[in-house]
Every structure is written in C-alpha cells, then in structure tokens.
C-alpha cells in the first residue's frame, strides 16, 4: 500500500537539489531569486544600463571637469581633479587655478603636459567662446568655422577641439548642458536612493512594531500618523526654505520626515495579518524571541509589499526633488539639477535641446528604476513561476 503513495510523492518532486554550490556565498534561495531576476530580461538589462550610468556619474569629475586629470609641470606630477593647487604654482596669483585660462595652459604646456577629461566643462564652468549668444546650440549644429569663430586663431586654434565643444549645447548662462545633466543625474539618483533607504528603514520598523504588537501601540501610533500626514509637505518646505538655507541634506531631512509614512500602511497590514499565522505560532512554540519572529517570519512577508512600493517611492522622491528645483525651491542656485534644466527649457523655448535633454534624462532614469523594481519584486515572490 505504501508503494503507490511513495511513488506519487516521489513524482511530485522532480530532480533533487544539491548542497548549495555557493557562488559568492549565495544561499540556494537567493541564487534562485537571482535566477528569477535574470529571467526578467527587461529588468536585467535595465539594471545593467542603470548601473553603468550610475557608476559613470559617480566618476563625473573624471568625465566632465574644468580641471585636467593629470598634469606634468616642471617634472612634478599633479592631479588637479583631486587636489586644488593655488595659481601661484604656475606663476599666477589667484587662490584657485583656472586651467582653462590660456595663460596658465600655455605655461603648463611650455613646461610639461596635461591630460584633460573628455569634456572640459564642469557643471558650473562658463564657456566664454560660445559661437552665439547663450543658450548656444549643440556643436554638431554648427560648421567648424562657426564653432571656432570666437577662438583667437579661429579654426586653427588648438583649444577649438572636441573637449571644448558643447555636446548638447549650453544653457542660458553658457554652461555645458551635458555636464549639468551628468551631475544632475548623479545628485537626483543619490537623493532618491538615500531618501528611499532611510524612509524604508523607519517606515518598515514603525509598521512592524504597530502590526506585531497591535492594541494600544497600534491605536496611538495610527492616530499620530493621521495627524502627521495631514501636514502639507510643500508648504512646510517653502517655510523652512525661508529660514534655513536650502541644501541637499536639509531637503533630504524634511522630506524624510514625511516620506516614511508611505511604508507604514502596507507593512502594518502584513504584520497584522500574519502575526496569528500558524507558522508564527509554531515559531513561538519553539521559543523563538519576538524580535527574531518579526525579522525572520514576518518581515519577508512584508518585503514583497515593501518592494512593490520601493520603486514608486524612489521615483516619487526623485520627481519631488526635480519639481522643487523646477519651481526654484530646491537645491541652491548654481547646483546641477534636472529640475532647473527643465525650468530653463521652459524659459527658452527657442532652445529645445535644454528641455529635450532634461526630459530624456529624467524619463530614462525613472523608467529604468521602475523596470528594475518590477523585476526585483517578482524575483522575491516564491510562488511566481518562470518558464
């Protein structure tokens, strides 16, 4: 009699799993999640593209900068990207060296050499040789003669090279749009990631405590959150901006005060639902402490809900920063920001490269993050079967 049942049970389990061949120390479960993530092609490619863009933007100083990466001057090797040298080192008298100044660059070339980043503009560098009044067009819309007309020796000027041409034109203050988009991308992504991570930590903890303990804890906390989330964030930002100098960390702090609330609802609901599950009771019967039960048994349940929200919160915070910049209440003037780029695009409709660059960078960034978030969420779902 046992034979048939044993056979039936054996059939439901296909091939047995071997002891984890720990690749990078991954547990078999995480290996499977990784595999599930990879099967989502769109998410997989989005991850690589985003990682490439993000890591590249972290090294923005080496890609677009008004300082050379490496300088050899009178036998000495200097790294202006990392170190600020006073100008007197090269025979001038300002505190900060302007390497784009023909006097300085000629002096350095006379006594050595220098290696420039591919783009010789930082986000705040003003291009004095633009062919027409700012905002000027991307260089590929001009002929070579037009491009070089402001340089002293025209087409033959050695400074009229690729690094000094504006790949995506300039904004209305003659700053390079590509450099500003690159630095703006970096600041947006960093802002979004930090804000999302911090609010996830706070929100998930708060939701977990409320859901698990319930009762008075839950009741009081919920009323507090109701009052708290009734405060209009935008007005508060405007008021605070009038008192404190708006900067990256101040904006982050103010937005963090309110953004964690978004996680509480889902996490609390998951914990409330799951705290009386039989496997949670089973863990209690094993003598597992409350903290471990919350972390190991309940949190993974809430993780899928959290991960579902994560890309939207991330995108939401990036969008909020961008819109604040667009309105002029965001980062301090002069900061590279995509919102400010969009505002310039709005003010200079005759220069479509401003608005288009802002639009493409923002939409690409938001789409990539959403695709990655979707794929992560699906990978964590144990019931989701991939072919």
């Amino acid at each position: 009699m046992g034979e048939i049942a044993a056979k039936a049970e054996a059939e439901t389990l296909a091939t047995p799993v071997r002891r984890p061949t720990s690749r990078w120390g991954f547990s078999p479960l995480n290996q499977r999640r990784w595999y599930n993530f990879r099967t989502n092609r769109r998410g997989w490619w989005s991850l690589w593209l985003f990682l490439f863009l993000f890591i590249a933007s972290l090294f923005a100083e080496f890609i677009a900068n008004d300082k050379p990466i490496l300088v050899s001057y009178k036998g000495e090797l200097l790294m202006p990207v990392l170190v600020d040298y006073p100008e007197e080192k090269f025979g001038g008298f300002y505190a900060v060296t302007d390497y784009r100044d023909p006097v300085i660059s000629d002096e350095i070339k006379a006594h050595g050499w220098m290696i420039w980043p591919p783009i010789r503009y930082s986000y705040r560098t003003v291009n004095n040789e633009i062919p027409e009044a700012a905002p000027s067009k991307p260089f590929w819309l001009y002929s070579k003669e037009e491009r070089c007309q402001r340089y002293p020796q025209g087409v033959n000027d050695e400074n009229c090279t690729f690094g000094n041409w504006n790949l995506l034109g300039t904004d209305d203050q003659a700053r390079d749009v590509f450099a500003r988009a690159l630095y703006g991308f970096r600041i947006s992504v960093l802002f979004g990631l930090i804000l999302t991570a911090a609010s996830a930590v706070i929100g998930v903890t708060a939701g977990a405590v409320q859901g698990y303990f319930g009762g008075w804890v839950d009741l009081l906390f919920q009323r507090f959150i109701e009052i708290w989330s009734a405060i209009p964030v935008l007005y508060l930002l405007l008021i605070v901006a009038a008192v404190l100098p708006p900067g990256f960390w101040i904006l982050l702090g103010i937005m963090l005060l309110f953004s964690w609330v978004a996680f509480v609802g889902v996490v609390r609901a998951e914990f409330l639902r799951a705290r009386n599950f039989e496997y949670v009771n089973a863990a209690r019967a094993l003598g597992v402490p409350n903290g471990t039960i919350m972390l190991r048994h309940l949190l993974p349940n809430a993780m899928v809900a959290t991960l579902t929200f994560l890309p939207f919160i991330l995108n939401g915070s990036i969008t909020t920063l961008t819109s604040l910049d667009f309105l002029g209440f965001g980062l301090p003037p002069g900061s590279p920001s995509l919102g400010e780029l969009l505002a310039q695009g709005k003010n200079n409709l005759q220069a479509p490269w401003l608005g288009l660059t802002g639009f493409i960078v923002i939409s690409l960034m938001l789409s990539l993050l959403i695709f990655i978030g979707e794929a992560t969420r699906d990978a964590f779902d144990p019931r989701k079967a991939f072919k």
Binding site: M1, G2, I4, A5, A8, E9, T12, L13, P16, V17, R18, P20, P28, L29, F277, E278, Y279, N281, A282, A283, R284, A285, L286, G287, V288, P289, T292, R296, H297, P300, N301, P382, R383, K387
Partner: protein, 547 residues
C-alpha cells in the same frame, strides 16, 4: 439498486475529458471518464484530492472556469439531452432546478448578509415564480423537512447564527427547493464533526428515498461510501479505474488503487499502557476561562469556560487521545498544557511546576515540549526553505552548533520522517500535504523533545496519507519514548494511536480512562453517540449531541 436495469439512465457521462490551460501549459484534469446514474440511484465518486472528482462533478453543470477549462471530448446526457452543447442561458434552467448541488464548505456557500428565509425563498421565487406568502410557507416546509428545529424562529437568522451542521441543512433545503431529479453533493460532510456528519448522511438518505431522487456523492471517505452509495466509481489521476456495486467493490476490489484505498485506514495498535512509566506532563484542575467584559469600565460579567477543570496525566512513551466535537475545548487544553495560553490550575512538566513560568522562563523548556499543528499548509513559513524551518529551533536552543553540524541534524531529522534530505532547500509549497506534515513533525523531532502536542495532525490529509503519518508517529514514539497529547475528532486515528482517551464536551471531561476500555465499553451516552457516528456513521437518537 434500482440500478442499471431500468432502461435509460437519468444522467450519462460519456467519454468526458477536461483540460485546464494555464499560461500556455495544458493539464489534463479528467481523462475520458464514463459513468451512468439511474433514477433513484446513489453513485459515489471516490478519490484522493487532486484526482479530478470535483472537476468531473462541476463539469456536469458547466460550472468550471471557462475558457481556461475546456472539454476536448465527451458528452453529458441528462434525460438524453447533451448538457455540454447548451449555452449558459439554457443551463440556468437546469441548474438548481433539475440538478442541484451542495458544496463542501457551508460557511462560505451561504451569503452572510442575507437571512435564511431570503436565501431559500429566492430560489423558489426565481424558478417557480412564487409570491412572498407561498414562498414563505414552502421555506418553512423545507426547513422542517431537513430537520431544522423550530424553523419559525430560524427564518430571520443569519448564517453566522447557525452551527455548521445547521448551515449544511439549510444548503440542502435550498438544493431541494425545486425537487431536483439529481443532487450532486461535493464532500458535503468533510467540514463537519463526526456526529453532525452522521446526522447529515442520515438526512440525505431519508430525503433521497422520500423524493425518489438520484444522487452523485463525491467524497474521499470510504466509510461514507459504504454507508450511502449504491454504486462506486473510483477515480485517480483523472481516470475512473474501477466501477461497480458498492458491496462488490468493498468485498472484491479489482484494481490495485482501489485495494490501496481500502487498505489505507489507520491501523495498528497503540503502545501498551504502562503505569510504571514516569509521568511527563500532568495537569490538575486545569481551567481556561475567557472573560466576557461589558460596560464602560470593562467589568468581567461572565466567563467563557473553554476548559473547565480537567485532570490529565501523560506518561513517557504513551499517548493521551483527546476527542470531542469542535468547540469542546480540546485544542485549548493542549495549548494550556504547553503554556501557550494562560490558565489556572497546576501543570507539572517533568516534575517541575510550570504553571507560573513566564514566557522567558518557558523558553529553555520549549525544546522538550513541542507542538505539531493541524494545518500543514499554514504551519510552515512559505518564505523559508525547509532546511531553515527545521533548523530554526536548533538556532534558539543549541546556538553553539556550527552550520555544518546543524545541517547534519536537519538531514538526520528528515531521514527520520522518511523524506529525501536532498529536497531540504526547497520551499514548502513544492511539497504535498502529507510531506508538509512530515516536515512539521521533523521540526519538532529535531530538538529531541519529551512531550509533543499533536493538534489534529491528520485531519487535513487524505486517508491513505493519514495512515502513513500515524505509522510514522507511532514509530517515532517507540524510538524516542515520546509522550504524545493527541488531539483529534477522528476516533479511528485515536484508536490507532492512543492508549488513554479523554472525551471532552463543553470544556469538561465526559469520560477519561484507558482507550481499550472506553472503545469497548463506553459508559456515557455522549461517548456512545460519538462512537456510533465515527465508526458506523449512525446518528444518535434523542438529541444527545447538538445539531
């Protein structure tokens, strides 16, 4: 028994197949089955879960989720009319009128927001065009027929005010409202207590004779089949492997699978009672009262006495079976003894008074005092691999173990419950119900406990799997000299495992003593009624048990 000789059958299923298509993959759920039901005949469709018996029944009324389900072959002739060829509008005239259906779960089959009267009379109004007055009269008549006591008072009751058995009676009343020629009953008693099950079976048998109705009875319980069916169709993996008159099938099964099913009832002897064995768990006058609080100051006005003064002793290597209907307080007693809920009265575990211990003080004892829960689908965390699930207790109670040592213990525990240790990195949902229950048992066993509370560990499992789990539990008990508190409403399983039995009702002990004694010579009427219902499917006379 009026049987196959009476010419044209009432319902004739010919060569029926059902396939389900899900994300491009096709599953054959029912594979070319054929059977007939004659007028006045009861045919039972028997099989384990997943054998396709419910799907076959649902396709008769085309209640499957079309278009993801499809019938590549076959016809269903009802009075010579092919039901599969009809569209929804025509079928609505058949559904609930000529062919009625009752389902397994009376809890969810009734609309919780409508009164009983409204739900029953709705059918009368739709199908027979009755007016309010006539419908009300007929509703009363129907409720009387299905044996609801004082139906006048029940007309305005909502489903939650009725017991499970009463709800199932209302469901039957609704099914009978239009005097159907065929009643399809899909496991109508699985969710009910044995005593209520016996009453419902009795009722169905009576009604069938009174109304000359045919019945298609779907069940996994062979005891019911023997009691109620004229003919049996044994189904496995979407196929009917054997058909024949009930007596013939039971006396002389032809197919291997039928024989396997018949042999699957839990068998074997419980361990011999040994009064010399050391007492592991002892409860004296254990009480669990839940206060009912009223008013602004939440004063306690009364108590729900879930467990009311129970004495028990469980010895090493022995099993105490706790039996009773649902709501009798068996699980509460077990939870109180294992100190999962607070209680009054002395509880001694291994010679120590543990009834005053806090949760923290209990923690070191938890390793020796394990619980196996009823639902193998709910008691395993769906997001942990079974290796992690089993190792969890070890991490708490033996934190000194290295990862390799822990893994070795997990492998040993899985071997002990006859599961392939190679599968330990899988998630629970990849295992069948029986395998999951083995995992839950392994989780308890890996800590080498002395006392295990088994809370209906077999009631969610198929009959043949139940027998295997019972054998496993008995083997483990013998090997490790375990003390079991075995909670169950299934007396067959209790008889196979327990050497002592405690019969509970409304929180009180009805009878307590050696199992052999109680099974052979029950003293109390309630125990007798319970036994008659469990072993012979006979309803007790004169209201010894509730509805």
């Amino acid at each position: 028994m009026s049987g196959q000789t009476s010419g044209v059958p009432l319902l004739s299923v010919r060569d029926l197949s059902v396939i389900f298509t899900q994300s491009g993959r096709e599953t054959l759920a029912v594979d070319h089955i054929s059977f007939d039901i004659a007028k006045g005949e009861t045919v039972a469709l028997v099989g384990e879960s997943g054998s396709g018996k419910s799907v076959s029944a649902l396709s008769i009324l085309k209640l499957l989720p079309y278009p993801s389900a499809a019938h590549p072959s076959g016809e269903i002739l009802f009075n010579g009319d092919n039901l599969l060829g009809h569209d929804d509008r025509d079928l609505r005239r058949v559904r609930g009128n000529d062919i009625a259906m009752i389902f397994q779960e009376p809890m969810t089959s009734l609309n919780p927001l409508h009164t009983i009267e409204r739900q029953v009379s709705e059918i009368l109004k739709i199908h027979q065009g009755m007016g309010d007055k006539a419908a009300r009269a007929r509703t009363l008549e129907l409720l009387n027929e299905v044996g609801i006591r004082e139906p006048e008072k029940r007309l305005n009751a909502y489903p939650h005010q009725l017991s499970g058995g009463q709800r199932q009676r209302v469901m039957i009343a609704m099914a009978l409202a239009n005097k159907p020629a065929l009643l399809i009953a899909d496991e109508p008693t699985t969710a009910l207590d044995v005593t209520v099950q016996a009453q419902i079976l009795q009722l169905l048998a009576d009604l069938k004779t009174a109304q000359d109705m045919s019945m298609l009875f779907i069940t996994h319980d062979l005891g019911i089949v023997r009691k109620i069916a004229d003919r049996v169709c044994v189904m496995t993996k979407g196929r009917i492997v054997e058909t024949g008159p009930t007596k013939e099938i039971f006396d002389n099964p032809q197919h291997e699978y039928t024989r396997h099913l018949l042999a699957a009832e839990p068998k074997g002897e419980p361990p011999a009672a040994n009064l010399a064995a050391p007492s592991v768990m002892e409860g004296r006058d254990v009480k669990v009262w839940f206060p009912i609080k009223k008013g602004f100051l939440r004063r306690t006005v009364d108590n729900v006495k879930a467990v009311d003064g129970i004495d028990v002793t469980i010895r090493a290597g022995q099993t105490l079976g706790v039996v009773g209907e649902s709501g009798s307080g068996k699980t509460t007693l077990g939870l109180a003894l294992s100190r999962m809920i607070s209680s009054k009265g002395d509880i001694r575990f291994a010679g120590r008074e543990i009834d005053r211990f806090s949760f923290k003080e209990m923690r070191p004892l938890r390793r020796e005092l394990q619980i196996v829960f009823q639902d193998p689908f709910g008691s395993l965390s769906p997001r942990m691999s079974i290796a992690d699930i089993i190792a969890e207790g070890l991490q708490v109670h033996e934190p000194g173990l290295s990862a390799d040592e822990r893994d070795a213990r997990v492998v040993a525990a899985l071997n002990e419950v006859n599961l392939d240790p190679e599968t330990r990195f899988r998630y629970p949902h990849e295992f069948s119900g029986g395998q999951r229950q083995r995992i839950a048992i392994a989780r308890a066993m890996v800590l080498n406990p002395r006392f295990v509370m088994l809370d209906e560990p077999t009631s969610a499992l198929d009959m043949s799997v139940q027998a295997q789990v019972v054998d496993l539990l008995r083997a483990l008990q013998k090997k490790h000299d375990l003390a079991y508190l075995f909670i169950s409403h299934d007396l067959k399983v209790v008889r196979a495992l327990a050497n002592d039995v405690l019969v509970m009702r409304n929180g009180k002990a009805v009878e307590y003593g050696p199992a052999a004694e109680i099974f052979a010579r029950p003293k109390e009427d309630y125990t007798k009624a319970l036994m008659a219902a469990a072993f012979r499917m006979e309803a007790a006379e004169g209201g010894v048990v509730g509805q």
